[in-house]
């Protein structure tokens, strides 16, 4: 029972002059949600901001043009955790992030989204006693069989500051017993990106590259593994798209793996025979341009549901439930269900509908920065 000897003051490393904020990037969508917050924090606070990619940035589509527009640099470091079971991914991030937390001693970390990696970051930070800011918190699909619902619920539970994109999301958090002092309705930071890039994107007129007329084609892009990685499901969707192509022009954006599946089953030939324009994945700005010029979008991705609502383009979501309820009630989104029978008969190009979602005004990141600065003393760490 002896007291720990005091370390002589001279041995301690010099204090860094600025506090450190870690931003955890899990993928393209979470990076785009975080980027405006990085820019807004840099504007108002003298901080050392470190961007960490939990996977491998080279696997992601290039974002250079958007990042240059926002004034944000590419991630400084990558944890390189990508493959494996959900447990292996979460566990891998917990372990890898621990080294970064020890090394950089951040005042807080900022996470976005509901990936296995996001939960890993939240677990690692909470074990280290580092406060967590969760962007786009409170989203609930109430479908516990999906991994991202579990990840979102647990990450929200671990977070100190919950920044929500809608009042519905704030209500979801309050219903889980999270006290209101931690919940802040700031709007959607991805919409900030859309508002910043909208003009440049429209000017690109990417639809002309694919011989489409503005407002008269349906854009289709599937991202969730239950669609993009399941050959049987892809074939069902392809058959429905072939039928849809008789009514209206269709542009289908495919990643390499999905294209391989469709090619192997012969569905790709059917699609092209029916006049469906099958294109490679585009970079963010080009794809935004294609969304902006579309008459309707069919998707399963959360980010696209947000972006179409912001752009005023009709969105049809191939899922039985969405965690983005606000895009249904006040955006342009509609659910098509998620069964063996894919019914696209109600999909058709529709006129633009202006975005009426509260606080989806392109100023969300500044409100986020205000909340972070007001609730966290962004002091340099005692020992970095």
């Amino acid at each position: 029972m002896t007291a720990t000897p005091l370390v002589p003051a001279a041995v301690l490393p010099p204090l860094p002059r600025r506090a450190t904020v870690l931003h955890l990037v899990g993928g393209t969508s979470s990076f785009l949600r975080l980027a405006p917050v990085v820019a807004a924090l840099a504007e108002r606070e003298d901080l050392r901001q470190v961007l960490i990619h939990t996977g491998r940035p080279e696997d992601e589509p290039a974002l250079d043009a958007v990042l240059a527009e926002l004034g944000v640099r590419a991630p400084d470091r990558a944890l390189g955790v990508t493959a494996g079971t959900p447990g292996a991914r979460t566990g891998g991030v917990v372990v890898e992030l621990e080294h970064v937390l020890t090394e950089t001693a951040p005042a807080l970390i900022v996470v976005a989204g509901g990936l296995d990696a996001t939960l890993g970051c939240a677990l690692s930070a909470s074990k280290h006693g580092v406060p967590i800011v969760h962007l786009d918190a409170g989203l609930r699909s109430f479908d516990w069989s999906t991994a991202d619902e579990i990840n979102r619920v647990l990450t929200d539970r671990l977070s100190h500051t919950l920044l929500t994109s809608s009042l519905e999301a704030s209500d979801n958090l309050a219903a889980e017993g999270i006290s209101m002092e931690h919940i802040h309705h700031i709007g959607n930071t991805l919409v900030d990106v859309v508002r910043r890039c909208e003009e440049a994107a429209r000017a690109l007129r990417v639809w002309e590259r694919f011989d489409q007329a503005e407002g008269h084609y349906v854009l289709v892009s599937l991202h969730r593994p239950e669609h993009a990685d399941a050959p049987r499901c892809l074939d069902t969707v392809a058959a429905a798209l072939t039928a849809l192509a008789e009514q209206t022009p269709v542009v289908l954006s495919l990643d390499r793996r999905s294209r391989g599946h469709l090619d192997a089953s012969g569905a790709l030939d059917d699609l092209q025979g029916a006049g469906v324009r099958c294109i490679e994945r585009l970079d963010y700005l080009e794809f935004l341009s294609l969304q902006a010029g579309a008459g309707a979008v069919v998707t399963d991705a959360g980010a696209i549901q947000d972006e179409t609502s912001a752009l005023g383009v009709s969105c049809f979501t191939l899922r039985a439930a969405t965690e983005r309820a606000i895009t249904l009630s006040q955006g342009t989104n509609a659910l098509l269900g998620d069964g063996d029978a894919v019914d696209l008969s109600m999909v058709r190009p529709l006129p633009l509908a202006p975005c009426t979602v509260p606080l989806w005004d392109g100023r969300a990141a500044h409100r986020a920065a205000d909340v972070v600065a007001a609730h966290h003393a962004l002091r340099p760490a005692a020992h970095a």
Binding site: S145, I150, E176, G177
Partner: protein, 392 residues
């Protein structure tokens, strides 16, 4: 709100009569998988395992981390189940072990394909197993659910997350169940069952009294103060030593020299020096020895939640160091006094010298595991007294 149940209903399997394969009856009973990460979890779950074994309608698989199955700490449990599978835990930091448990438990789930996973308490092992089960869509029951402190630490977060993930929440008391309801968890999932660890305490109490661990050191029965503290980051070893020395002037002190003691366990020299001042150190961590010391103490000073529960159940006067007790029920029934954060208050504790009167309020009636067994069978087993049960 209740996406849990709808998405899992299809997983319930009807228990059918045994088929014979290679002359051996195939075991078609639903598999229940218990995660035993620490001795505490083994203590909480062993009465449940025994009860489910008695009901004989499920096949039980025990998964343990090596640290959890410290048999020395659990001697004297009749038919203590050793784990069927070990999670290969190596060396490493707490987070590395957490990651290893998460991945290891996923593999066990693949092999065993259980109907239900049962975890207990608030350890990293419980969270890792709960997370793996939730991601695989396997139903999850949480024993000792709903306990909350106003100032949550790392372990408290584990418990909150496991509660969030669980389909069936088994709360020790009505107050714990109320905590869960306040977090928006539907009341159909919450069951007040009592404290299963106290079932074990009740069962082992006669053996513990007969052991007379305290007599070896010449301590007077019901006339000494047991001190059982763990370092929670707020306790100063020096202040604790001063307080104990002042206390030992008035009453003999039994100090549990556990590794988590503030300042670490005393060295052999320190043990001898403390002994001369009337402070006897006990280093064994066997459950029976621990209960023997507790049951015959005149008073106990602690900051450990489980010790507060055990003292309340056994009727030993309990004094809690810290701003609050994590077991408010023990305080409200008068079995526990909160001393505050100033360690000097320890010097004023005195042994009662009286025979303790056991407390048999609902959580501590020794029948918690029976209620857990009934709840789990009602939710996850479609047929009890299955023909294959008759073969033994």
């Amino acid at each position: 709100m209740d996406g849990h149940r709808s998405s899992r209903a299809h997983r319930l399997r009807l228990v059918s009569p045994a088929e014979h394969l290679d002359g051996r009856p195939a075991d078609h009973r639903p598999v229940v998988l218990h995660a035993l990460g620490t001795p505490r979890e083994t203590m909480l779950l062993s009465p449940v395992i025994t009860e489910l074994e008695r009901l004989d309608c499920v096949r039980q698989v025990l998964v343990g981390a090596p640290a959890g199955i410290d048999v020395g700490a659990l001697e004297g449990i009749d038919g203590l189940h050793l784990p069927d599978r070990h999670l290969g835990l190596g060396e490493g930091t707490a987070t590395e072990q957490f990651a290893a448990m998460l991945a290891g438990f996923e593999m066990v789930l693949d092999v065993e394909d259980p109907e239900l996973v049962v975890v207990a308490g608030s350890t990293d092992a419980a969270l890792a197993c709960a997370l793996a089960a939730a991601k695989r869509g396997v139903a999850l029951a949480h024993v000792e659910s709903g306990l909350r402190k106003t100032a949550p630490g790392a372990l408290a977060f584990n418990r909150i997350l496991v509660d969030r993930l669980a389909d069936t929440l088994l709360a020790p008391s009505a107050a714990d169940a109320a905590n869960l309801l306040a977090e928006g968890i539907p009341d159909t999932r919450v069951h007040v069952v009592g404290d299963t660890a106290i079932d074990l305490v009740r069962r082992l109490a006669p053996a513990a009294l007969a052991r007379r661990t305290w007599a070896v050191a010449g301590l007077p029965e019901h006339g000494y103060v047991l001190v059982d503290l763990v370092d929670d980051g707020h306790l100063s070893p020096d202040a604790l030593l001063q307080a104990l020395l002042r206390l030992s002037v008035h009453a003999p002190v039994a100090l549990r020299a556990r590794p988590e003691l503030p300042g670490g366990p005393p060295s052999p020299d320190a043990v001898a020096a403390l002994g001369r001042r009337g402070i006897t150190c006990f280093s064994g961590d066997g459950l029976i020895d621990r209960l023997s010391l507790l049951g015959s103490a005149g008073a106990v000073v602690t900051n450990v939640g489980t010790v507060q529960d055990e003292a309340a159940a056994l009727g030993v006067a309990c004094h809690t160091v810290g701003a609050e007790s994590e077991r408010p029920a023990t305080v409200s029934i008068g079995a526990n006094v909160v001393l505050g954060e100033d360690l000097a208050a320890i010097a004023d504790v005195r042994p009662t010298g009286l025979l303790p009167i056991p407390n048999v309020l609902a959580p501590w009636d020794g029948r918690a595991a029976a209620r857990v067994g009934r709840t789990l069978v009602a939710h996850y087993v479609l047929a009890v007294n299955h023909p294959s049960a008759a073969r033994s």
